[in-house]
Symmetry: C2
Subunit: 242 residues, 2 copies
């Protein structure tokens, strides 16, 4: 399936902005610094509004975290023209929260094409959790509650697969009858054909110079339609680009 | 908000079809027998397809479980005209699985109005998990993955609130950074105004003669917009009907 990236595209797909016992983005700061390179200004997209917080409040999190690396953060809501803000950005960061709310807002503001164009042009894109879901073909493998109805489940399609962030291994001791994550993703594959990457918390994918790499302390889980799920180790996973 | 029930409506909203260590519907058989009363034929709606199983396979579960009570089960897919099957049913059971798939299928087959009309007329409706979500105002508080895109998140609205089945209390020892159920429902309330009932596994709601009752071994959790969440004990909860 067609994906919106070019040889100059740079995409960082992060499972979670925060790991247990550490501050917002703390575990990722060096990676982010390296990824952003020359870019010292970051356009933050706070539309996913975790816990319903305001855009201003939310923007304070990355602002504070990235100040340590000399990176200045501005929320897209501070700009009169969000489309122009994206086109002119040095780099873009789409924060986590509710994937449905994020997707609906981006469609309503007609920013989907603007984001794709920015990535194709080579503006670095970072997404965490919901912002990472958004890089896939669809938001059909989000863990979030459908609190609002977006006009489509089609996502940015920067990569030709789907992401399941905060991937959680089944708990063998659970007595809960709700489906495990793996069961849900298998149900997805009765209705959809694209591969799904289960990204454990602390993991991320980095796309750069046409190469895709799995980074962080964990392997990931690859789900493909009509195949057994399997672990994929850290390192070059460019085969996922098809 | 308007809900599609009358004084003759009978609705059983079940959190889960199966509790740990017991067979499909086993823990519920006496309640179901009493609820169905004279009705000895049950129309089963298997569209939610848990784990992607076929309609035939899925229909075997309630068929087997309810045979013990002399109740005959037929899958709606066995009828040439599903609308007519609903209108003529003695009782209806909408099984669990994926809420998005269930909702999409019902819209595509134009069965939403037929189900509302059946309930208003007094045909007993039982729903488990996804089938229970469907009785609320919207499917916006489902736990399921959005594996398909339904034409709307509006549900049957048999009751003037939303249901969160398989409600799970936060695990104080969890190191996982994904949102708790309560956090997700609070996010829902930044965007929606209706009350949400968190139904723990083993619990169910029963609407009959204009009275709503919470049954089973657990209290439930009531989430209202701009209020603190609170426990509601078993027994008469007709105040939820507004």
């Amino acid at each position: 399936m067609k994906a919106y990236h070019s040889d100059s595209s740079k995409v960082l797909m992060i499972s979670t902005s925060k790991i247990h016992g550490s501050d917002y983005m703390e575990y990722l700061l060096d990676e982010v610094e390296g990824f952003l390179g020359e870019a010292k200004e970051l356009l933050f997209i706070p539309y996913a509004r975790p816990g319903g917080i305001s855009f201003d409040e939310y923007t304070k999190y990355p602002t504070k975290a990235l100040a340590a690396k000399g990176i200045e953060v501005k929320g897209i809501h501070e700009f009169a023209d969000p489309k122009e803000a994206i086109a002119k950005a040095q780099a873009i960061f789409v924060g986590g929260g509710n994937t449905f709310l994020l997707t609906k807002t981006l469609y309503e503001l007609e920013l989907i094409e603007a984001l794709r164009a920015a990535v194709v042009k080579g503006i670095p894109y970072m997404g965490s959790s919901a912002g990472s879901n958004l890089t896939g073909l669809s938001i059909g493998t989000t863990n979030d509650m459908p609190i609002v109805y977006p006009p489509s489940f089609e996502a940015l399609a920067l990569v030709p697969f789907n992401i399941n962030p905060h991937y959680l291994d089944p708990d063998p001791n659970s007595k809960h009858q709700g489906e495990t994550r793996a069961t849900r993703i298998n149900e997805f594959h009765f209705q959809n054909s694209q591969a799904v990457i289960g990204l454990r918390e602390g993991s991320w994918l980095r796309l750069e110079k046409g190469k895709l790499e799995l980074k962080g302390p964990h392997s990931a889980v690859l789900f493909e339609a009509q195949k057994e799920m399997r672990e994929i180790p850290q390192g070059d996973v460019s085969f996922l680009l098809g």
